[in-house]
């Protein structure tokens, strides 16, 4: 068990927006290759926590490590030094993120969306990136849409492009922030299918979701958050089928 390397380690993470404390000491460990699904009522801080992992939000206390590196700070002589913009950007390169509202770049075609970051950020060879991007788009079932603009695609198709865009940077960790919440019900399945494939291939994933079915099927670890803390976590058949905490029971009884 202990031999599996740890990808994400969050230790007593606190985050406040002004006087509102959103995260009140979150602890979470995600092993390499593991899929963690974070469930919880809205306002429980799960999206905020996800955004802290790639430093879109600065945490106020505690620490987050990704693949052994402290996120957003550098430790030197027992003191924390804030990272410069460039170093933070470099850390983010290996962490893919998929947003609830897709956030594709509307002025670029699907292919350009996927190629943008590898070409501009990593300065990789353009022809090679193009081949890889086409392959990725084929993998998410969109090889016929490469030259379309995002505005011409359905929500499910846009979200699959967003996943391909994140994968094009060859991340070691993928963060999903309610990836199916903005979709019409009949389009949810196609996005979840892509995510299942990804999980099967061994990608480390943290998924904030309301799709209990997906969590039950795919997650190695289900994390239930409420009120800015992790209330309980464990394998899906324990947490979803047989929750121990009252708050978890109350939440699941509403969504199941």
């Amino acid at each position: 068990m202990t031999e599996i390397p740890v990808m994400v380690r969050a230790d007593n993470v606190h985050k406040s927006f002004g006087s509102l404390e959103v995260l009140k000491g979150v602890d979470l460990t995600v092993a390499s290759g593991e899929v963690a699904c974070v469930l919880g009522p809205s306002g429980s801080g799960k999206s905020t926590f996800l955004r802290c992992i790639n430093h879109l939000e600065k945490i106020n206390a505690g620490r987050i490590e990704v693949d052994g590196d402290l996120v957003g700070y550098r430790e030197r002589g027992g003191k924390l030094h804030e990272m410069g913009e460039r170093d933070v950007a470099r850390q983010r390169q290996s962490i893919g993120m998929v947003f609830q509202r897709f956030n594709l770049f509307p002025h670029m075609t699907v292919l350009q969306n996927v190629m943008e970051a590898p070409c501009r950020v990593k300065r990789e060879n353009k022809a090679e990136v193009r081949d890889r991007s086409r392959a990725l788009l084929e993998r998410v079932g969109l090889s016929d849409k490469v030259d379309n603009y995002p505005g011409q695609l359905s929500g499910g198709q846009q979200q699959r492009v967003a996943i391909a865009r994140a994968l094009a940077m060859r991340p070691k960790l993928m963060l999903f922030d309610e990836p199916t919440s903005a979709l019409d019900p009949e389009l949810v399945g196609e996005v979840l299918d892509v995510m299942k494939d990804l999980a099967r291939e061994g990608m480390t994933m943290i998924v904030v979701t309301h799709e209990i079915g997906f969590a039950r099927e795919v997650a190695d670890n289900v994390v239930f958050m409420d009120g800015g803390v992790v209330v309980e976590q464990g394998p899906p058949n324990e947490i979803i089928a047989n929750p121990q905490q009252e708050r978890t029971k109350a939440f699941l009884s509403k969504v199941l």
């Binding site: 879109l56 983010r92 011409q152 198709q157």
Partner: protein, 337 residues
């Protein structure tokens, strides 16, 4: 079941109804037609316009006033002034807008101060002030600040820290003064336009770009500004057109190589006033019409991916999708639902 029903039932006759009448429209058309005829009658029969003076020949052996050498020279000056002032305005405007949106309080206040000043100062006044700035300094240059004072501190008389300088008479004569006055003033307006453009971009856009590891500069250049252009271009087109017309105020700097100045010079010489002004009006109408065509094409370019045409296409796509078009795309994944 429903299929059978539709095949059995005959398609009803297309509706033939008496359309709603609009008598008010017809009255309006008649009134406008009469007014137009009256206006044309005045233009064509009133001797005061002296059309041949404008178009054919204004003096023995000379072309019409619109096409004489000095006026064409002035036209060139007006166009150059428009182009250069707008260049200064756009470049500086983008810089000021970015400063204004900076989290750094000092940068944003400086930008605010800049827009405050140059929006408050009327262009005509500004242009004349710039034309007279050489009263303040005989030479303008770059160099170490407080050079004389620092020199005195170390006991050196007349220590000169100037690196480069130029006679201000030469620098701020006519054209350059006018260009600076118009350009700096324009930058204030452009800054507001660019700021509105940048702020119109959804927050998720820079966020997604940053999450991919892009730097702030890259996000601005590749993601935010190209999208903001869609919002920035139409009002900028207005600004160009306004600028073309505002160049006429620099006749008071004075700038001699400028359309309005040249036409007024003709009227001062010939004592013909109204036809000369009409000639100026016609030139401004022609130039603005050309600019409007250019604006149309620019807007079309930056509307890529959305815009009116894009939206129409999207709507069509949605309809096709509802009728099973998207199903083909989804099926590529193998078994949705």
């Amino acid at each position: 079941m429903t299929d059978q029903q539709t095949t059995e039932r005959a398609r009803p006759e297309p509706i033939k109804a008496v359309p709603v009448r609009h008598p008010g429209r017809w009255v309006a058309i008649v009134v406008l037609a009469v007014l137009t005829a009256m206006f044309l009658h005045m233009l064509l029969t009133n001797e005061g316009f002296r059309w041949s003076f404008i178009f054919v020949s204004y003096e023995e052996g000379k072309r019409g006033v619109m096409f004489t050498e000095p006026v064409l020279e002035g036209l060139r000056g007006t166009l150059l002034l428009t182009v250069f002032s707008m260049l200064i305005g756009v470049v500086l405007g983008v810089v000021v807008a970015i400063m204004r949106l900076s989290p750094n309080k000092i940068l944003s206040s400086v930008a605010w101060l800049y827009t405050w000043f140059f929006r408050a100062a009327p262009r005509l006044v500004l242009a004349v002030v710039f034309g007279n700035l050489n009263v303040l300094w005989s030479r303008v240059g770059f160099g170490l600040p407080f050079d004389k004072q620092i020199g005195a501190l170390f006991g050196i008389d007349n220590f000169n820290g100037q690196i480069w300088s130029i006679e201000s008479k030469d620098l701020l004569a006519g054209f350059v003064a006018a260009m600076l006055a118009l350009g700096l003033s324009e930058a204030a307006y452009m800054a507001e336009i660019v700021r509105a453009g940048i702020q119109s971009i959804d927050e998720g856009q820079p966020e997604a770009a940053v999450a991919l590891g892009m730097s702030r500069g890259q996000v601005l250049r590749r993601i935010v500004l190209p999208q903001a252009m869609r919002v920035i271009v139409p009002p900028t087109g207005n600004e160009v057109i306004a600028m073309l017309k505002d160049t006429s105020v620099v006749a008071f700097v004075p700038v001699t190589a400028e359309l309005f100045f040249q036409l007024r010079a003709v009227s001062a010489r010939t004592f013909v006033v109204l036809p000369v002004l009409i000639a100026a009006l016609i030139w401004y109408l022609i130039l603005c019409s050309i600019l409007m065509v250019g604006q149309y094409f620019l807007e079309r370019h930056f509307g890529k991916g959305y815009g009116a045409a894009g939206r129409a296409r999207m709507r069509l796509q949605t309809i096709q999708a509802e009728q099973g078009g998207v199903g083909a795309g989804g099926a590529g994944l193998g078994g949705t639902t």
